[in-house]
Symmetry: C2
Subunit: 417 residues, 2 copies
């Protein structure tokens, strides 16, 4: 610590030296002109093992052709089981990796409505856009009410938001809010849903691989999530869905496809889906990108979620401390909960000039991301983000605003993913 009471760079370097996960950084590709990459919450880095695996799998396609299918065909279930055990606190047969988060959410919402009666659809206005669009579309198609309520961005949805819900309602919440990073209380909110009889679907896109997720322990019935963020599955990697074992017999996908069919290659039978979450498969899965997901999940499994979370908290604590010391006096406010237990793995720094500052920060060799209207998100991927990265990034951010660099950048319209 410095005499001013905030961490100095030597302190950050000491934290790196003591970091049990420090070795994982070298397991990822880093580019030649290295930016400080704080956007792993949008697209994770490329693991070396994934690069090798993809090269090998491309060769395997070339060499084995259709003879490869017996090894490939189980990839959605195999990768799902690995993810279930290492990341989601779920059991075998409860998770498959397939399709996109959007399509998977569509399947689960419809399955719940079909099985339990058509109540209202419920979410919060700050939920990730594609989740809201899916609900809008289903509400329009079925003539259902859609309730999108406002939340305190620094808290996200809370169990009281479910008080008025009823059996037949389907509620979709994100475990970590994509803007503020607020971490919802999965246990309390899930319990509230059990009490009202509503079906709750968790979107764990912004927590899977960064925050422990205990679907079984918390009695979660249904969940979806993304693999290209903290799980490092690559651009457009297939997403996952979770169906608790107790619900599997009750629920059916609205999209009946041959990869869910029992005896898939007995081609003359009527549709009869397999047991397990595999009944939510549809068409032929993206085999190359599934292999990338498998490698990403393996790396996370090896690092262990408890250690990942501990490092994530320490890193976001460092950002908060530096914010308080350096940024608050420059007009920033913290757009993320101050209490570590209430946030995920990114910190949003709000400033009226957030977009030009984001551009200036990129020019200064730091990649954050921007979410309108006024948030700079610093994403922490504990497998490869170092304490000195965070220190240097916030230091450069401070310098930019102190000098007014952001008033001189080209802040042409944003296109941010």
């Amino acid at each position: 610590m410095t005499r001013e009471g905030h961490p100095d760079r030597a302190h950050a370097a000491a934290l790196d030296a003591a970091d049990p996960l420090a070795g994982f950084r070298a397991r990822f590709v880093h580019s030649g002109d290295e930016h400080i990459y704080l956007d792993g919450n949008s697209l994770g880095r490329l693991p070396l093992a994934t690069r090798e695996r993809l090269h090998a799998l491309v060769e395997e396609w070339g060499e084995r052709l259709v003879a490869g299918w017996p090894d490939w065909i189980d990839a959605p279930a195999r990768t799902g089981d690995l993810l279930a055990a290492a990341v989601l606190g779920a059991g075998p047969g409860e998770v498959v990796v397939t399709d996109s988060t959007t399509v998977n959410l569509y399947k689960l919402v419809n399955a719940a409505l079909d099985a339990r009666g058509e109540g209202a659809l419920i979410s919060d206005r700050d939920n990730f856009p594609t989740d809201r669009y899916v609900l809008e579309g289903i509400a329009a198609a079925r003539g259902l009410e859609l309730h999108l309520f406002a939340t305190d961005p620094l808290a996200g949805p809370v169990s009281e938001d479910l008080a008025a819900s009823a059996p037949g309602d389907v509620v979709v919440f994100s475990h970590v809010a994509y803007r503020s990073g607020a971490l919802a209380d999965m246990e309390l909110i899930t319990r509230a849903a059990h009490q009202t009889g509503a079906t709750l679907i968790w979107d764990v896109s912004h927590s899977a691989g960064a925050v422990p997720v205990d679907l079984r322990a918390h009695g979660v019935e249904l969940a979806v999530g993304c693999t290209y963020k903290y799980l490092n599955g690559g651009p457009g990697a297939p997403a996952f869905l979770y169906v608790a074992e107790a619900l599997q017999a009750e629920l059916r996908s609205p999209i009946w496809g041959w990869f869910a069919q029992s005896e898939q290659f007995a081609m003359d039978r009527a549709y009869e889906p397999v047991a397990g979450a595999g009944r939510f498969l549809a068409g032929t899965p993206a085999i190359l990108q599934l292999a990338a997901v498998e490698e990403g999940v393996r790396l996370t499994a090896e690092a262990r979620m408890d250690r990942i979370r501990a490092k994530s908290v320490a890193l976001t604590e460092l950002i908060v401390a530096l914010h308080d010391a350096w940024l608050a006096p420059l007009g920033f406010t913290l757009g993320t909960p101050r209490e570590p237990a209430l946030r995920g793995s990114h910190v949003s720094l709000r400033h009226p000039a957030a977009w030009p500052i984001t551009r200036a920060l990129a020019a200064a060799g730091v990649t954050p991301d921007f979410r309108g209207p006024d948030s700079i998100r610093l994403g922490i991927a504990p497998l490869y983000t170092r304490f000195v990265d965070v220190y240097d990034a916030v230091d450069r951010l401070r310098g930019i605003v102190e000098r007014g660099d952001h008033e001189r950048v080209d802040a042409s319209p944003a296109r941010v993913t």
Copy 2:
């Protein structure tokens, strides 16, 4: 020709020597212990350009990370436009490459029902299983009638099959039948649908890249198809969907997702899909596998569909001639139309012992595929299948059955894709 009246190997070799597409074979990966691969109708070979592109794109992910998205984000539309022009006879903005054939068919059937009233769902019993399952599921969900009628396998669906259809009905036919290879008359059948007012959706999975498809010229309104067969997109490559320009404003996907949203990154607006077939996108597209599709389609574009079709016909003609000379006396029957204009790019050879013969053929260095109950399919991929390949394959097939090799193989249960 031999004195017996059938082609001999020298004739096949002469056809190869005169083949304007012969050079394309060297543009694909061939394995060390080379099989004669006659299963490109199931999974196409790996183009060298695709291997390079995938390696480069994996590096691009590693190096550019989120900065790659501006180049990646248009891949579904860009690849769709290329496919539209080179393969499908469609216009810009009418095709996107995304999701699976199953999910795309689900989207289009529901869109048609929503826009035009809920009639009956119609297809043939011999249609590809996942197409039937999609229709079964939608019929169950909406309480609609599903008519699956029998066709003559050597003809496939014909325009008369539509006589009883009515406005609001949705009909799904395959352009080429996956078992028999029968090529439906797209023009006549589409005209019949226009006359009855039914909405017809073509599945061109087994024709795209092997048989010219003229969606616009034939007034086709909607189509879906696969890219991992003749288009060589790789295992689980994303599929495509086509929406004729005139229908685009009228139709909406049932799955509302952020990749169809106008101003995708203005995150606070209600759903308002873009114009064009892009409104049928849903979640984040599989960027790596899309690049493989793009390379595969480029190769097909370079070869040109007219030349591909001419070679395909010549190759299937050779199989038919050899069947008549060698196989018919051994108990085979032709499971594919004899008239070249009525078949696609594979020939089905029927035999009561088809499965053990398939196994023996594999042991003899030929990869065909098997479709129950009794068909050995020999798939012709004109970009890399040679006339001598076909000659040698049928010659080995003859030898196997003459010697009774198939009575001595391990014909354990099939698992075929």
